[in-house]
Symmetry: C2
Subunit: 253 residues, 2 copies
């Protein structure tokens, strides 16, 4: 009941503050335990999940709206968000029809029209350090948590398509841009970096070639410290040279 009143209040009092027919959705990737994860929200009183997202204030830049959502859901600021595709089909209901979606989310019939107007949605993805995120639901959702990318359930709207395309874009970018600055802790080992690349690419890479290639880009700084705690000879720790990394993002590798 409270949820329905909340929806009604949102439509009647707040919806007009936002641009109509356009929204943002965020695919937030994290890397943990050698696995790529994505942040999802479970809607109030339902078992259904979606990506985080939001609307754009009338006087707010598109990117600013995406950063606002990112911060609200993760607590993170100054994380690089990348726009990757705008989703503009008339019917963006894939796993569940528009009608079915309304029923599953318990949205009263008189609110369908207003809440499910056609939106063109701009997709962004972010790469974040898993350990630094405080997953936080929004007003329409009960739960916000990480899912393994490989185990994501059928999502609301076209959000499975969004994750798929975000991942494809990330894979393509590996051929001309460095990846890892935001996904890894500040100091990391070469095997950790390799595992990240393997996870994104979905295939194993040769250890020697990988190390050679990574060092050849000139973005890594080898530290004097070694990683401690393992049974084997402790591997060297590396970190990205922030300046060179930024330059490589701009100009390609």
């Amino acid at each position: 009941m409270e949820y329905k009143n909340e929806l009604r209040r949102f439509i009647q009092e707040e919806l007009h503050q936002y641009l109509s027919h356009v929204s943002v959705d965020l695919t937030i990737f994290g890397f943990h335990d050698g696995q790529l994860k994505v942040l999802l929200l479970r809607w109030k009183g339902s078992d259904d999940w979606s990506l985080p997202g939001g609307r754009i204030h009338r006087d707010e830049n598109l990117d600013a709206a995406a950063y606002r959502s990112l911060q609200e859901r993760t607590g993170l600021r100054e994380i690089y968000l990348q726009q990757f595709h705008t989703f503009g089909e008339v019917e963006r209901y894939k796993n569940f029809s528009r009608q079915e979606t309304a029923v599953r989310l318990g949205i009263p019939a008189d609110l369908h029209g207003e809440l499910f107007r056609r939106d063109v949605s701009v997709g962004y993805f972010a790469l974040v350090e898993f350990a630094e995120v405080t997953p936080t639901p929004d007003r329409f959702t009960d739960e916000c948590r990480w899912w393994e990318v490989a185990g994501v359930p059928p999502l609301l709207f076209d959000h499975n398509d969004m994750i798929r395309l975000a991942l494809k874009t990330l894979r393509q970018q590996l051929s001309y841009q460095p990846v890892g600055y935001n996904l890894l802790p500040e100091k990391f080992t070469m095997p950790e970096l390799q595992r990240l690349y393997e996870t994104i690419l979905g295939k194993p890479l040769d250890r020697r070639n990988f190390q050679k290639q990574m060092l050849a880009y000139g973005l890594l700084e080898r530290l004097e410290e070694r990683k401690t705690g393992g049974a084997h000879k402790a591997p060297f720790l590396y970190r990205f040279d922030r300046e060179k990394y930024g330059k490589a993002l701009e100009e390609g590798i």
Copy 2:
């Protein structure tokens, strides 16, 4: 006068058929005489140019709206259009302010608000064969013609930014996707293909390495014919293997 009436009729009778706050803009690249060109429109009764673009019908997919604009301005169908970025700043007036733009285009003061509502615009680019295009102005423009990319004047709105980013995207794609299928005639020589790559990249490439690399991708078919008409030994003609080219677009090279 006729133009102003046309604008008024558009706002009063047609604008409601389209999604508000979202539009498409097209950067249409062609390759001719060893130069990369872009298709621009000159607005009625003005000296100002912009990219082609348009609005999205309420029951029309976003991509379909972009293809419709492409076809109307070029006469071409079945040309690959690629979405590359969505432009969503609140103020998308760069070279000329909103007010200045209205004056330059002779838009009556009472129509400013309706015509210059805030739009988030989805940018697409296309690569087309120069010789096959019939440049066609739209209802608000007098002239549609090719400009050398290097010599594009200060454009209306944020359209210089759009061309710049389309070109940057195209450059990045050269590292993981083939380019040329739609930009070159069906049969072409290796020097013509090289010149295309050099134009996009904005730098000269080594002839031998280029040829070796291109052949290694396995997308080119060498024909029995040679190009005739030159003073030197006639170069071989090539064409893309359409199936392999499509596969490479999908999976990367």
